[in-house]
Symmetry: C2
Subunit: 105 residues, 2 copies
């Protein structure tokens, strides 16, 4: 049970390049160097993004020989999604209640 706070996860997801990297990893594990071949940024830039993503638990890394291979963690994304959904539903529920009261019912 990764009890990461939500906001940093969103901050990590809120960058186009980082999102592209996640999508690329969704098609299969890859190293920073391999990813650098597919994007118009340097390997180091990608390495920084991967560090951010790993920090918030969206990816994990595994050493394979002389390369560091990254794997996307869909479960963390799903957990974040569920938390989001609960919050959104709660807001709608509460505001609907306020509206009912305001209408004098």
């Amino acid at each position: 049970m990764t009890t990461t706070t939500l906001v940093p996860v969103f901050a990590a997801l809120g960058d186009e390049t980082r999102w592209s990297i996640l999508v690329a990893l969704g098609e299969g594990d890859a190293s920073a160097s391999a990813l650098a071949g597919r994007f118009p940024v340097t390997r180091q830039a990608i390495a920084k993004h991967l560090a951010v993503l790993e920090e918030v638990g969206l990816v994990e890394s595994v050493r394979v020989g002389r390369e560091l291979r990254y794997r996307v963690l869909g479960a963390q994304l799903s957990e974040t999604a569920q938390r989001l959904d609960r919050i959104g539903a709660e807001w709608d529920r509460r505001l609907a209640a306020i509206k009912r009261i305001a209408e004098g019912l």
Copy 2:
């Protein structure tokens, strides 16, 4: 059906102050000035945050007399959550398949 792209929504959610504002609005509609009373930042800072949130469809504004009152849109949050969940599930599914193949099954 708000077909906003995901990344800007995450970027909007990825700021502590903005998240706090959303949470506050979750307890009931409020204007920028009213919110400014509850947070350690100026009204203008809050107004900027509200503009960002409105831009990505997380809140909407309604003129009430001489004040602009903001309302949180839980539905947009829930929709974002569902999109996230689907993506996360898809990644896990695909990577599990790759793993199965790698294991020669």
